[in-house]
């Protein structure tokens, strides 16, 4: 069991009062998580004691910085059970990770007429890079439909596999519906027709145990800022074989072995894909974040959030008019996107904010999914290991307040 009170003490922002006397109830972790002091201190200590550029320095600070940066990579590799640390490429965020695959693997492997299978519940980050590539290369994009309930239509998926897609790219957890997709099953089926798979782990890696070898994933993309880490750091995991065969993406310092005026040879993995000075302190911060998550235990977090979402859905369903999108609690993470007939999502969010309750409102970078459900925007409350049932109650009070004002 999680000791939530102890955990909360690690998060300085949770002491914040949004206005005098109005404490913060942060229900927007799906957009970005808060950071424990352990993460902030790891970065601050780095800057105050060991800050230096890495890899090419021989002096003490540079050696320390290199060691800390590479140690973070190894711990992050272990966190998702990657077979090798060099399979962890540091990027800015999930979005850059997916673009890296689209630019490098995609341009080297896809030709006119090739099919990419995505889903209707993708975040724009797992749509737009493929749309750009599809336009450039004349590829065909196909989508696994989302059912009314908010699940992927797996029968339709199996029919799409008859098209022999070259790539199947899908989110392991929807940032709107909360749906946890059966990733291992989707990957196994894709592999049977020879497709490469990319898992958008932006929501899954922070909230449930993810084991890339057990999943069989070829690529996994995720962001540090959603899993207690800082902004400015993300990860692309890729299987060695694939990464080795891929051409470089960004060119510059560190990704090369030798440079002449008109030619270069690439460096070994993972450096081949890390051009220029990386987000050093941020990688170190993300290392501290996975240490924190591991110490709490990803299984314990998953379990805690399961109980939380069951309670959230129970409470929201009792409010007349509130419509929550996505599947039943057993298929989803701790995300509740909802609408109310009285008020636009923005207004819900604004009224809640006046009570200190931070929820997000909009299309959550998933416009096609909202279009499918026929709504321009939802309000979204999302939960993490530091949220409590009392905070759910505050949310519910706030929703009644919205009804009062706009009803």
């Amino acid at each position: 069991m999680l000791d939530v009170e102890k955990i909360r003490r690690d998060f300085p922002v949770l002491n914040r009062e949004v206005r005098p006397g109005v404490p913060l109830v942060y229900l927007d972790s799906t957009a970005t998580s808060q950071k424990p002091r352990q993460v902030l201190e790891a970065m601050d200590n780095f800057y105050r004691a060991s800050n230096a550029n890495i890899h090419r320095g021989i002096h003490t600070l540079a050696e320390e910085a290199t060691a800390s940066y590479e140690s973070a990579r190894r711990r992050i590799a272990a966190f998702i059970n990657a077979a090798h640390a060099h399979e962890i490429i540091f990027t800015r965020n999930t979005t850059e990770s997916i673009n890296l695959v689209a630019y490098s693997w995609g341009r080297a492997n896809l030709q006119a007429g090739d099919v990419i299978v995505l889903t209707e519940m993708e975040h724009h980050s797992n749509l737009v890079p493929w749309q750009i590539l599809a336009a450039e290369r004349d590829l065909r994009l196909e989508f696994i439909p989302v059912t009314e309930e908010g699940l992927l239509d797996l029968e339709a998926y199996h029919r799409l596999l008859d098209l022999r897609p070259k790539l199947v790219a899908f989110t392991q957890m929807s940032n709107v519906l909360g749906t946890i997709n059966p990733a291992a099953e989707i990957i196994a089926a894709a592999h049977q027709v020879g497709a490469v798979t990319l898992v958008d782990g932006a929501q899954s890696v922070p909230h449930i145990p993810v084991d890339v070898q057990a999943l069989g994933a070829d690529f996994l993309a995720f962001s540090g800022h959603k899993m207690l880490g800082p902004s400015g750091i993300g990860v692309l995991y890729g299987r060695t074989e694939l990464l080795e065969a891929m051409p470089p993406f960004l060119g510059g310092g560190d990704m090369i072995k030798r440079v002449e005026l008109r030619s270069f040879t690439t460096n070994a993995l993972p450096y081949k894909f890390e051009a220029g000075t990386p987000a050093i302190a941020e990688a170190i911060g993300l290392g501290a974040a996975v240490d924190y998550l591991s110490a709490v235990g990803m299984q314990a977090i998953e379990q805690y959030e399961r109980e939380m979402i069951a309670y959230v859905l129970e409470r929201l369903e009792e409010i007349p008019g509130v419509r929550v999108f996505g599947p039943a609690a057993e298929h989803k993470g701790a995300v509740a996107s909802f609408t109310m007939p009285e008020a636009h999502a923005h207004d819900i969010s604004q009224v809640l904010d006046e009570l200190g309750v931070a929820v997000r409102a909009g299309h959550h970078c998933a416009m096609p999914l909202h279009t499918k459900f026929g709504i321009p925007a939802t309000a979204r409350a999302s939960f993490y290991l530091y949220n409590t049932r009392q905070e759910v109650d505050r949310l519910v009070e706030g929703i009644y307040r919205v009804k009062h004002i706009f009803g």
């Binding site: 008020a343 636009h344 999502a345 923005h346 207004d347 604004q350 009224v351 006046e354 009570l355 409102a361 909009g362 299309h363 416009m367 909202h370 321009p376 925007a377 307040r401 004002i405 706009f406």
Partner: protein, 131 residues
């Protein structure tokens, strides 16, 4: 809270006075706020002296975007086209009478952006119009 949700805004949102579309119109323009999907269209009729004789808005969105559109459209009746082009962010905020953060500001200014893009005859509504 009731500060922001001043009665005026809630009232205009629930009981808009200038909602509708005009056909024909001398100026018609529409656009949306990419961050939230709020959508506004404005239709304006001018007389031979380029004075606004009739104007309406339509679309969907939050109370701030819709109420500010309603207030703005009311305000421009009787104004000249040049006066409309010269409208600023401050004019809209004065009409609303509230303080707004950067995100909600975009909601509040959507109708002004659309209106000015139409008044200038632009192909696209850009943020410069309301800065």
């Amino acid at each position: 809270m009731d500060d922001l949700y001043r009665e005026l805004i809630i009232d205009r949102y629930k009981n808009p006075q200038f909602r509708g579309q005009l056909d024909p119109a001398d100026i018609t323009f529409e656009d949306d706020n990419p961050y939230c999907g709020d959508h506004i269209r404005v239709d304006v009729r001018l007389d031979e002296n380029n004075v606004v004789t009739e104007a309406r808005y339509s679309g969907e969105g939050c109370s701030i975007s819709q109420a500010s559109a309603d207030l703005l459209i009311e305000y421009i009746h009787g104004k000249t086209l040049d006066e409309v082009k010269a409208l600023t962010k401050e004019d809209v905020l004065d009409l609303l009478g509230i303080q707004l953060g950067p995100v909600r500001l975009k909601c509040a200014l959507l109708s002004l952006k659309v209106l000015k893009a139409g008044a200038y005859g632009l192909g696209e509504a850009t943020d410069d119009l309301v800065e």
